[in-house]
Symmetry: C2
Subunit: 217 residues, 2 copies
């Protein structure tokens, strides 16, 4: 998923996880409109990771994409519109959580994707989180994106219930947040150094809590 989701080694992107934020477009279906969108959103990503929000202007994006400025203004209006569309694109892809056969394995795989997306250099995920504190439109789009990703991940919990790993009625969202939140906390807020053991450790903690009944009743 992560690799299939990238346009190339030089284009910053990210696995589209609940953590993460949209990667490069998975496909570029034909049509000039679709090609223009791909060019423009690639330029948004590149501009964002290289220059941050302060370097993200409609004009800079248009110039970088080689698209007429008027076209960009007409279709996206402003920087908020560009960021919202970038997140919409990420939400539209065909990402699915890994199916490893165990709850622990699924959560660990998810956490490894989150960890990778937040620690890769440059990280479009980290850049978009930072931008969400500046642009209300980006904040709303990021919230919607994560909402969609967590909803997609509920299948991980459903499968664990079917396998008898969890009792029916487990609160999937609370379990998924418990598993993933420590990664965001360490890497985004506490700004700790990347810790290769953190994804597995946080997944294991959530599974042990679940086994002890934390997310049921």
């Amino acid at each position: 998923m992560a690799t299939g989701n990238r346009t190339g080694p030089s284009t910053p992107s990210t696995p589209s996880t609940p953590s993460a934020t949209p990667g490069a477009p998975a496909r570029r279906p034909g049509g000039r409109t679709a090609r223009t969108r791909a060019l423009v959103l690639d330029a948004v990503r590149a501009q964002l990771v290289e220059h941050g929000y302060d370097g993200l202007t409609v004009d800079a994006v248009a110039d970088r994409a080689g698209v007429h400025r008027t076209t960009v203004y007409r279709r996206w209006q402003d920087v908020g519109g560009l960021l919202a569309d970038l997140l919409t694109l990420g939400a539209d892809d065909d990402w699915q959580p890994a199916d490893t056969g165990t709850l622990l394995g699924d959560l660990a795989a998810l956490n490894h994707e989150v960890h990778a997306s937040l620690t890769e250099q440059p990280s479009i995920a980290a850049a978009l989180i930072a931008v969400s504190f500046r642009s209300p439109q980006a904040a709303e789009a990021l919230r919607d994106f994560w909402e969609g990703r967590y909803a997609q991940c509920e299948t991980v919990v459903d499968r664990a219930v079917v396998r008898g790993e969890l009792p029916p009625g487990a609160d999937a969202r609370a379990l998924l947040v418990a598993a993933t939140a420590p990664l965001y906390h360490h890497l985004v807020l506490l700004r700790s150094a990347p810790d290769p053991e953190l994804p597995d450790r946080a997944a294991r903690t959530a599974v042990l809590a679940a086994s002890a009944g934390a997310f049921t009743g």
Copy 2:
């Protein structure tokens, strides 16, 4: 602690928790220098919650504090210096985690402080987190502040070990992050609505995980 930490109902401040970020000065020891610092940092807080980072300039802070601009420039240099000093002040106070007699009670009390600091209107904690994505100096000061707070909270885990609630050797930091991270994740990153049950639920999850051996071995 939370109330003793406020200067008054009209001054936005916050309980100084690992979550939170420094409240108003606990004391104002005599001396003109100390009084100037208190006036200036009160003005930083007020300016930040009312106008955000974009409205935070040395001149605006000096004018609001009624302190000569030159004095502020000489002592704090720039906005980064002001924010760093605000966080240093928070770290210097005499905050201690509540001692309720149980691990669950202590973690729940901590989480209620975190929840309150992030949801009060206006929230200086939320404002400082947002600013940490703009000012590297604020980011570093916030990291140091949290580091201090988590270190202070390790006593919660130590006491639980003494009471026999946890086996010796429990990873205090991992347990504290597991307990508090879901609050930050929901309220700061996912931008969920305040949830009065979240503090207790996250504390209970961490305690159940701990009982199941998540933070030992």
